[in-house]
Symmetry: C2
Subunit: 337 residues, 2 copies
């Protein structure tokens, strides 16, 4: 059985990262990770006449470049596992249309990068695929229009809000013998602690991260200090504090090895309140800073845990609270597999 505990997949054949790429928007390019991203856009429209088309183009370029980074052509890729925040994940489907790779669309909101990596690793580890590309994208402007208000309104943002990143990240996995390996993935349950404030995504998602992290540590019988980096996707400043508090309450201390992509993406001067969000946030930091440090061996053992708020504007209007999910993926440097 390639599973340990209740819900942790074990990849005994150790699928490897053979290519990865990240592209971010101009604001993200002035943030804390500027030096790590593969490409920083000057123009977040990418020459398109709508932000939705721009988002699609952003994912397409990221996936294509990740494949190029693996020294492959889209024809060499067996399956493309991608998702995004748009209604009917159209950025993903339209990207798959132009790339012409057999397509598995997934939806996990901002947990998508972890879900796609987990499923990609399953396909490679199980011998179902040679090369799989996994990825996701988010765009500030398309997300704002769809989930909140027209940009032109200039609506005031509450202090608990996060800023949806314009960013995309993609990873190519293959059954190689060298390179960063994906060794485990814990698939989360949907967790809802009755938070219904759509301007407090971090607070809503923290319990899902807590449940999945506890399950993961329990399944593998390890402590948090097993990892030299535990990285949540986009809980932001408030959400990551809630996660640390919840863990502390159970006697588990998340120390200096814990960080959150949402908290770290932007500089404090960039006025994003609780930090960044959006599925591109964790995906772009994973596929730049984290992969580079795993490759240069300054990191050896990383738990990447992306969290997603599975709401829609309609479910909020109908009075529902916000169901959330978190999936965790273990990445190891090649000397530590």
């Amino acid at each position: 059985m390639n599973r340990i505990g209740k819900s942790t997949l074990v990849f005994n054949n150790k699928p490897r990262v053979i290519g990865n790429y990240s592209i971010v928007g101009p604001k993200e390019g002035r943030g804390n990770f500027a030096q790590y991203f593969d490409k920083i856009l000057d123009d977040d429209t990418l020459g398109e006449n709508t932000y939705e088309k721009a988002e699609c183009r952003l994912l397409e370029q990221t996936v294509k470049n990740a494949i190029g980074n693996a020294k492959l052509h889209p024809n060499d890729i067996d399956f493309m596992i991608v998702g995004d925040l748009m209604n009917q994940i159209t950025s993903s489907s339209f990207s798959a249309r132009s790339l012409q790779i057999p397509y598995l669309g997934v939806f996990g909101a901002c947990s998508t990068m972890a879900e796609s990596l987990a499923l990609g690793a399953v396909l490679v580890d199980g011998g179902f695929a040679n090369n799989v590309v996994c990825g996701t994208v988010s765009h500030f402007s398309s997300a704002e229009i769809q989930f909140r208000y027209p940009l032109e309104l200039g609506t005031q943002r509450p202090p608990t809000s996060q800023w949806t990143t314009t960013a995309s990240g993609a990873t190519v996995l293959a059954p190689h013998k060298t390179g960063v390996a994906v060794t485990h993935a814990t698939i989360g349950k949907v967790t809802d602690w009755d938070v219904s404030d759509v301007n407090n995504m971090g607070g809503a998602m923290a319990p899902a991260a807590y449940e999945t992290l506890k399950q993961h540590l329990n399944d593998l019988s390890i402590d948090p200090d097993y990892y030299d980096l535990i990285l949540t996707g986009d809980l932001g400043k408030l959400g990551s504090e809630v996660l640390m508090d919840l863990m502390e309450h159970d006697g588990i201390h998340l120390g200096v090895n814990y960080s959150d992509c949402g908290q770290m993406m932007f500089k404090n001067t960039q006025k994003t309140f609780m930090g960044a969000s959006g599925c591109g946030c964790g995906a772009s930091i994973l596929n730049s800073y984290v992969m580079q440090r795993l490759k240069n061996k300054s990191l050896k053992n990383v738990l990447f845990m992306a969290t997603g708020a599975l709401l829609s504007p309609l479910t909020c209007q109908q009075g529902e609270s916000i169901p959330c999910v978190a999936h965790a993926v273990v990445l190891k440097g090649e000397d530590y597999v």
Copy 2:
């Protein structure tokens, strides 16, 4: 390698169907498959005050009953792979919230049942899971509101239109030695032949079915008569004729062993023009009529090919044509594995 040809997954361990269930709405319950469905609703609101909540409840009940049909409890299920047509697949996420099964959300529009079955079979075949539940749902009223017009308008339907089914189907897969087996799955590419008429889904999706069917036959080096039933999801009358024409043009004859769920669901007197659509259409017929015939051995070898139109109202408004996808899954009766 557990793959044959370009994009067909091979399940050497033959994951088996150990439980399945179908629930349909009142109109579907007066159609051609009335005697096969497990449950026919008297009330398509399921007691909820919105159609979106009704759709969520419908999926939840179907999944729960499929698990019960497998003589299992939701706690026994390792992973739940579901998707639907709603924005941010909220019917699936909210069902997963109440069922508390580790959750992998997928989106393939009306191809979802095939996508979830394929991924479920991968997890079971690869030894990553013991029990996986796969499923999908659609609801006439929630889909009409979201994709077309308010129901109260009574908008006239054009002759090429199809009627979104209120229906749900779910399948439990496990590594058993007996029962209906899933042996192969072909993952489709996104195909777009520039159809932009949102009232002609069958015409838009037929090329995707054509591409995937050709790929499948080619990957396995077989002819259509290898199967005693080739069943497309919901091409409807027009779409299934287009598929037959396209195949005929390539010298491949789809004969009496070819049918389409969308064409067959309703009686001609039910005024649905080109027939049924919606991801619940194929899912409910697969998990009733087809499974029953595979179990009673009047069918031995079935290719279930669900097709999805990956549009959103927004992409149409922005002048895009309709990208489509089709995934195919092979199901075999236990004496023919």
